[in-house]
Symmetry: C2
Subunit: 373 residues, 2 copies
């Protein structure tokens, strides 16, 4: 028996409002998970994360396996204690980062051999190893090992789907911890038949949650949305769905409208380190000279710590001066914006006005893209 | 009338416990002021600064004059609002940084011409300009323009003392804001006669507080302490004394024992960015391999946020992984350590056990320097 559960609180069209339950607390869905790559959401303390409203956070198995090592983290009591985050954590399988290593990895039917980006040492990741590492890390939600290919190369995608399915079965077999939920991952690139086959296969394995992999990796936006609409018809409705690595505000809205419950992405924190702030009216580049004496907050409608306390003028000063505090304050704002966008989407679902909310949201973005409109 | 005042709560030997009053609140002395060079104490939010117990903070006139500019900050409502710090602020005159520019500055009797380290543009700082800039910045305590020479070059020191005295008079003349306290600065290098002359001259100008400049800039530790002991006999006892740019734990203790009330230094935050933590038992380099599975906090006796929440193992991981959070968490700890060392010193003065406290403190440091002892 797993401690994990997910219950539906309401639906509107394809949109779903729910709650998932873990041994580290409950999280309302839809939810956006900030990414803590190396066991820290960059530039933020756990207290700041909690204050901005983060529920679930993600950590990367590849990075933590290499440094400080999963066994070290296990001996230190697991990832929650290690990083001082007592809420739910999700770890990926490590596969995505390994496959991103390009010329440093070699995949075969049994797994993948790769060389560390840190010191060139050789390592091997198999489904069993991916599970063992994630059991040591001790996250509440862990992921099956999958292969994420170039999405429009049919031969590559077909091979990846076969391996992904085989590895999903082996991960299920290898998984022993009953306090962790193991999610399966659907692959299939942009090909409707492969996506449907993959979704049916993965759904048949009865994972407590299902993830959609291999999107936002080079395909067009209409192709992404078509895959989501297709999978919404195949994936079981009583399990949460996790769209991996997707997190721009517009993608979150389009994903929720198409039945997705969980998202993660480095975008808001990476943008913050690059001096960009997310707002409903588009993105602000805080280094621009026009903000030098701008006494407004980033977003007058936002009630995050950054918007309550600081002007654009100060944030611009921090950004052009290379001060670390710029990354901290912009990360707080950007994550707060996405976390509360999800709250707003949930509320819209519960109040049966999701489509109206999405339309209004798209209009705002459209206006920003075309300032003459 | 200035809003600034300082009242003595008790003395023990030469040590003084007091309170200074500003229009942004009271601060107990002795006090250590964290340095917010560019209008931010690096890697910390104002909330984190307040939580760790900071009272007074310092900002650098040179940096803020160049970027974003004092007039910009004035139009934005002054430094307090700009950086979101509602407690007392002290600004230096800009002189120290300008004199540090070496081949980029040219001093004369009237002031100093220098080229910006940012873009090479030429600027001129005079006593009147230093005051005008600081009035625009709006700190609670501001400093007279002085010249800080190499401390053991008698000719250079004599010239600097003459200019410093003349500039002190001009600063007093130029200063108009009644809600700011203007402090004078004593120079004189390591030369007892020049130091005494300078202290008498500056004391005669009746500043509400007096600073000791030109120390910790290359002279030996016994030379520093000898100057402090000498000045303690000359500077008025009813005004606070500020030892500029000094802030190692051992220097704070030795300064308080010799009648100093205010200190500032980048040391604790710079050390934090270099992975070093201050403890009563000496300094820890958190990158060392010995901490990889060390589940202790930096200092088991410390109750700062970092020590309450995180292990040395995690801090080591953040440090070796190049994560910004390492700088934040170590800055919190190091500043907390110094702020609370000052609290302990104050308590020891009020309880008439300052010498015993200082002896115990020196013993701890001595043991660390010689681990075989």
């Amino acid at each position: 028996m797993t401690a994990f559960g997910w219950s539906l609180a309401g639906t509107d069209g394809r949109g779903r409002a729910g709650t998932f339950h873990t041994s580290h607390g409950d999280v309302c869905t839809p939810v956006f998970a900030p990414v803590g790559t190396q066991g820290t959401v960059k530039a933020l303390t756990p207290d700041q994360l909690e204050s901005l409203g983060a529920g679930l956070i993600l950590a990367n198995t590849y990075h933590l396996y290499l440094r400080p090592g999963h066994q070290v983290i296990a001996r230190l009591g697991g990832l929650h204690g290690f990083m001082g985050w007592n809420g739910p954590i999700l770890t990926d399988s490590g596969g995505y980062q390994v496959f991103s290593l390009a010329d440093r990895r070699d995949v075969d039917g049994d797994g993948v051999t790769f060389r560390s980006h840190l010191d060139g040492t050789e390592h091997r990741l198999t489904p069993e190893k991916a599970i063992a590492i994630q059991e040591d890390l001790g996250a509440d939600i862990i992921m099956a090992l999958d292969e994420c290919p170039v999405p429009n190369d049919r031969d590559a995608v077909e091979g990846a789907v076969i391996r992904t399915h085989n590895w999903a079965e082996r991960c299920l077999e290898a998984h022993t911890r009953t306090d962790q939920a193991l999610f399966g991952i659907v692959q299939g690139g942009i090909f409707p038949d492969l996506r449907t086959d993959s979704a049916e296969f993965i759904a048949g394995l009865d994972f407590p949650g299902n993830a959609i992999g291999g999107l936002s990796v080079g395909e067009s936006k209409p192709e992404t949305l078509a895959v989501l609409e297709l999978l919404d018809q195949t994936l079981p409705e009583d399990r949460p769905r996790y769209l991996m690595g997707v997190g721009s505000p517009e993608d979150l809205v389009e994903g929720v409208v198409r039945g997705v419950d969980i998202f993660d992405c480095v975008l808001p924190t990476r943008m913050a380190r690059n001096h960009a702030a997310l707002t409903r009216q588009g993105r602000l580049n805080l280094r621009r000279a026009e903000y030098i004496e701008d006494t407004r907050p980033i977003d007058p409608a936002c009630d995050c710590y950054t918007c309550r306390k600081f002007t654009r003028a100060y944030l611009r000063h921090l950004s052009v001066s290379g001060e670390m505090l710029a990354a901290t304050l912009l990360s707080i704002h950007n994550l707060h914006a996405l976390v509360h966008l999800m709250d707003d989407l949930r509320q819209a679902i519960l109040e049966l006005r999701l489509n109206a909310f999405a339309e209004e949201f798209r209009d705002g973005y459209q206006k920003h893209r075309d300032p003459e409109a």
